[in-house]
């Protein structure tokens, strides 16, 4: 077992780091403050292959592994958590089309998704169904060679800005087997968007409800067969959880490095903070938690890559652990900064606000425990 990154992975990491340091980090405070979604910059990221990380090459994807993608998202989120997380969602939605969509659907959309000429969102959650996603009420009624969608999706990253929406909707009876997945275009008649949500963090990307009111979608835009949508959505989320967990690693990494530098320069009681053993131990624990989280995330990514039967469990465990650890590390880093940590002049309060939501989305950390326990009892 080799815990070192390969030469390729180091090159990929360097590329992502260079991009994040030059294009994201210098702007992240301003984007957060102005609630600005930098479409131009995410398209620049796409030019480097970050928009179709594990999409196949024939449609412009980078054809990398989940582990490679995790390395990329960690670096991007070191520069800006909110933007990196958005790019990860675009990747997840694009992958669903690549993995489960028809050849025609792939060719129609993916070349423009990998270049981010088109931006994609993922629509599963509804106002009345979050953790209990399978209770969704959005329907897709068949009418000739079209489907007619009705319902509302909530907490949709990119809503109103994205060009494509991968939507899970009910084509059959209750339960998971009644759900199908569709690609809905922004300008198809009957789709509309709610007001922008006012959020604690993740301000560099829009979030809103997506409404379907007799929205007509061609049958050709269905991903896979009727009744397979929920399965696809869950498969997408296995990888999505790795991505979000990786974004926690990057944000927490920046918090840790910032705190370390602060302990080295800040003096109180006549000595640098780093001379106080209590603070040394705190920093050591933060580094330890973060490293443990990174190991779990990379193992889970590797399990997905190698189709390990326990991949779903590993993804859930890694998501739960890494997003909890990431938030805790950021919160501790804020505490180590004292009053300065609470000011927007330092990145800590932003990282704390951005990482907090990682414990909630892509399946709450409570649901991660449900999945883990279910897999334990299955064995």
């Amino acid at each position: 077992m080799d815990f070192n990154l390969t030469e390729d992975q180091r090159a990929i990491e360097d590329a992502a780091r260079a991009f994040a340091q030059a294009e994201l980090a210098p702007n992240s405070a301003r984007w957060d403050e102005d609630k600005h979604f930098p479409v131009d910059v995410v398209r620049k990221a796409a030019e480097l292959g970050f928009a179709g990380l594990y999409v196949r090459e024939d449609v412009g994807g980078s054809a990398l592994s989940r582990l490679d993608a995790s390395i990329v998202f960690e670096q991007l989120s070191y520069g800006d958590v909110s933007v990196a997380a958005f790019i990860s969602i675009h990747n997840m939605a694009s992958w669903m089309i690549d993995r489960f969509g028809s050849e025609e659907l792939r060719r129609r959309y993916l070349p423009r998704l990998t270049s981010m000429e088109l931006i994609a969102s993922y629509c599963l959650t509804e106002p009345g169904s979050g953790s209990d996603a399978v209770a969704m009420k959005t329907t897709a009624r068949r009418d000739g060679d079209q489907y007619v969608l009705n319902g509302t999706k909530a907490f949709i990253s990119g809503a109103g800005t994205s060009d494509l929406y991968v939507v899970m909707a009910r084509t059959g009876g209750e339960g998971a087997k009644g759900v199908s997945a569709f690609v809905v275009e922004k300008d198809m008649p009957g789709i509309s968007f709610g007001a922008q949500e006012r959020k604690m963090g993740w301000n560099a990307q829009p979030t809103a409800q997506v409404n379907f009111d007799d929205c007509r979608v061609p049958e050709a835009n269905r991903i896979g067969n009727e009744g397979e949508g929920f399965k696809f959505a869950m498969a997408g989320l296995d990888g999505g959880r790795i991505n979000i967990a990786s974004c926690s690693l990057g944000g927490a990494g920046l918090a840790l490095d910032t705190a370390k530098a602060y302990l080295e320069t800040r003096k109180q009681f006549g000595q640098a903070l780093k001379e106080f053993q209590g603070l040394q131990w705190r920093l050591a624990d933060m580094a330890t938690e973060l490293d443990a989280a990174r190991l779990m995330v990379r193992r889970a990514a590797h399990a997905l890559d190698t189709k390990n039967p326990k991949a779903t469990q590993y993804c859930a465990m890694a998501k739960r652990f890494a997003t909890d650890a990431g938030f805790e590390v950021a919160n501790q880093a804020l505490q180590l900064h004292g009053g300065y940590g609470y000011l927007r002049d330092y990145p800590l309060e932003r990282i704390v606000r951005d990482l907090r939501v990682h414990q909630i989305l892509e399946g709450t950390n409570e649901i991660m425990r449900v999945i883990t326990a279910r897999e334990l009892f299955r064995a």
Binding site: E7, D8, R10, A11, I12, D14, A15, A18, F19, E47, L48, G49, F50, L53, E57, S62, A63, L64, V72
Partner: protein, 248 residues
């Protein structure tokens, strides 16, 4: 037209360099290394010459340890066609590097050697000039613009008084200054493709070049720490202090 781009693996520009305790040099153990930024600019310019149709092949060459292969892969990922590593663990002086490059050029026959004006480790700013002298080729150092046409290179150079434009016959050595271009990021697909591009490794000894050191490093020390300044009461005091210091 073939362009040869020598590239050097140096301590990363973001790393705070530390001097070894015995004052023999900079501590490179566990330090991040990357391509010298001026070399990156040279690679970018060579790739742009190829994209414009002025060049047909871009060959990157490095003289250094095995790990310099990673630096060459970066050049390949940016768009160089193939790479050559002249492998050595010796830390070569500019003249020795120039001699090695001359030997490589004898084999490769490039029309243009495009290289960084200096490396950020030793800051010698000498290899390009020495190479041109050894080859008896024209040189145009500190380029801020390069145009290749009709067997000549029109090179705009940054000099103290402003810009100077030179027309040099090819073959020639051109060294890149900071403002020549902004290097591209290597894209992920190109990083993966770079693995499949040819990278030849040759032992330094196989070239038969005398690379014995001619200089002896006496000692390497950290720059002096900034000491506290003084406070002046009035603007007149400030001016008179500046005059005393010879600044005004």
């Amino acid at each position: 037209m073939k362009v040869l781009v020598p590239v050097k693996r140096v301590i990363d520009y973001n790393v705070k360099a530390r001097v070894k305790a015995d004052q023999t040099g900079v501590d490179l153990a566990n330090v991040k290394m990357s391509m010298n930024p001026f070399c990156e600019i040279a690679v970018e310019e060579a790739v742009r010459l190829k994209e414009k149709g002025a060049a047909t092949e871009v060959v990157a060459v490095s003289v250094g340890p095995t790990q310099a292969q990673e630096t060459l892969r970066t050049a390949l990922a940016m768009g160089a066609d193939r790479a050559i590593l002249i492998q050595t663990d010796q830390d070569l002086e500019p003249l020795a590097v120039a001699k090695v490059l001359k030997a490589v050029i004898a084999e490769e026959g490039p029309q243009v050697v495009l290289m960084g004006k200096q490396a950020i480790d030793g800051d010698n700013n000498a290899t390009g000039q020495m190479l041109a002298a050894l080859l008896d080729w024209p040189q145009a150092a500190f380029a801020s613009e390069v145009v290749i046409e009709g067997g000549k290179a029109k090179v705009t150079r940054e000099v103290d008084g402003g810009l100077q434009t030179l027309n040099v016959d090819l073959p020639a050595v051109v060294t890149a200054d900071l403002r020549l271009n902004e290097p591209r990021y290597a894209s992920l697909p190109n990083i993966m493709k770079a693995k499949k591009k040819p990278l030849d490794v040759k032992e330094l000894g196989s070239l038969g070049v005398d690379t014995a050191p001619r200089l002896k490093v006496v000692k390497v020390t950290e720059p002096p720490k900034r000491s506290a300044g003084i406070k002046v009461e009035t603007a007149a005091d400030l001016v008179s202090n500046l005059k005393t210091a010879g600044v005004l």
